[in-house]
Amino acid sequence: MGGEREERMDKKLIGRRDFMKSTLAGFGGLFFLPQIDIKQELRVVEAKGKEKKFVYRTLGKTGLKIPVINMGVMLTDNPNLIRTALDSGVLLLDTAHAYMAGRNEEVIGEVIKGRPRDSYYIASKVSLPQDRTTGLYTEGATTEEFLKKLDLSLKRLGLDYVDILYQHGVTRKESVAFEAVLKAFDKAKKDGKIRFTGISTHTNEPEVIHAATDSKAYDVILTAYNFKQKYYAEVRKAIARASQAGIGIVGMKAIRGGNQQPPTVKNITASLKWILQDPNVHTVVPGFTTFDQMEIDLSIMDDLTLTEPEKIELQKEASIRGLYCQGCRQCLGQCPEHLPIPDLMRAYMYTYGYRNLALAQDLIMSLNLPNRVCEDCGQCPVKCSIGFNVSGKIRDVVRIREVPQEFIG
């Protein structure tokens, strides 16, 4: 009897594994990473009379040892919530010069007043005027302006220095090594106003992360990263490269943010565990606004392992039909013209998701497609697993071949 049951369970598990392989392999990346030996440390923290297990990782070359869950403060001006987070073992508070027009930093200043300076870390962000269409800096984006904003942030926080200062919201590789910002970082470091330099991104993340790694100018990268990103595999690769170069990686938009997706996910703890299964992510800064949310977020440190039910739930949620291909590759072999459909769908994502026309055109050109694409079949026999009109998307994206390169840049 028992043996029969075991056998059935085995079959079930194999079925699940096959399902995972076939539906969520992504663009060359695994949806779930294999269990590996992650360099992390367990500490028992006493919070409000209770002992809690906290998982610590080292934030790259900064050497800062921090819990894997910290706090993004952007959504709350509740000092008691921030205070409770610190009292519960959170070490890093993440804010920005612009949040609540500065009140966010002021509230943090109020909370940390009187606490030993080595009992917490503060990360803030400063942005300079950008052309929001191109993502490039405009007139007024100067070293002086950057430093002026930093000084104001320090005043609001009541601090002599912040631990990490990010260049805020970078979307283009050209802006990563912007001279005015790098000069400001140099001066601020020399003056003891910042300990570590950082860059934050939630658009075109892979390009920005690679450029930040190449620039060698940054100690920390704060990036959007979650299981619903259609290009998570590319973010993951970029993060791995940055982490290998010694850069500390902080994840954001892991659960409640993610403006390019529904604002919430069904399973908060599984979503957090998903991002932390990546050993190159050193911490995450969820923006909790209630005590309950805080408890839930911190609770995952009891066990970071994704359970089988959690995995299935994440898979289902990630498979909900979106704008872009899920990379299941079930369409392979269905096209009578043997078109490389996953690659064409990737080009579609580059065009409409990344808005990176050059990347899309490079990819399309590399595929050696026939002159007429998806124009001669009476009815397309390709059945997409999530119901895309595949031929329509292909006809749309291959038009990029006709655009002269000088228009794409």
Partner: protein
Amino acid sequence: MKTVCLVLGIIIFLWAPGVKAQGFKFPEVTGWKQSGEIQTFSPKTLFEYINGAADLYLMYDFQELKVAEYLNEKKASVIVDVYRHKTPTHAFGIYSQERLSDANFINIGAQGYVEKNVLNFVSGPYYVKLNSYNTGAGDEEILLNFSKKVSENLGEKGRLPSILSSFPEEGKKKNSEKFIAKNFLGYSFLHSAFTADYELSGTKFKLFVIESDRKECKDMIQKYLQQTKSLEKNIAEGRYTISDPYHGEIELHWKGKYIWGILSLNDPSSRSKYLKLFEEGLRKRK
């Protein structure tokens, strides 16, 4: 029947609040030219414009942002951001989260203030933010001129939420009123609330009021008591003292569609006095 439906449909469409916003036009300003296209951001794309700050705007039911940049011959520029929220209360809410209580307040929209290179105001469901660059000594005058022109195109300026007039005046820090859209006090069951900061003889405290329907108010009290392990069998209208593990002792009063209360004020007689003053204010609510 079809004709009636069509006519009704047209009328509803024309009166719908969103139509006004779609019809909003950036004004012509003498001596200034609009530079480039008007940019529009939706809840899904707002973060492209204001990064992580977008999440807070989304909590306040942000609907749409339109951005225009104006340039003059001296290469000065003014950027006008017009945020549209679902209701005037939500627009006030996000404005109140960014408002500096000691700012230089001006008579524009329902309320506004001007500082160096910045002028912000709230008008109906709109939160308008003006930023100027290289405007030199005439900066304030330029911003005021722009704000008047923009305000004229937004229609009815509305007024600040009427419930704010219920807060007792004694000890109230001017312009400290806020609207918290969600998770008041860090509890999802408390929904939204209006708050104001007070100071009396060096003691700082906060007053708040939650407005909902009677049933919902009862439910909130019940959940709050459960949360704080204060057992109460029969939840009735009246006064409650709650020992909150995060906020300390909170004194509150429930009556009808209102729950009002005090945070961080220890003196019992002062608490009673303020709860009573607040009740009077709510009764006389304008």
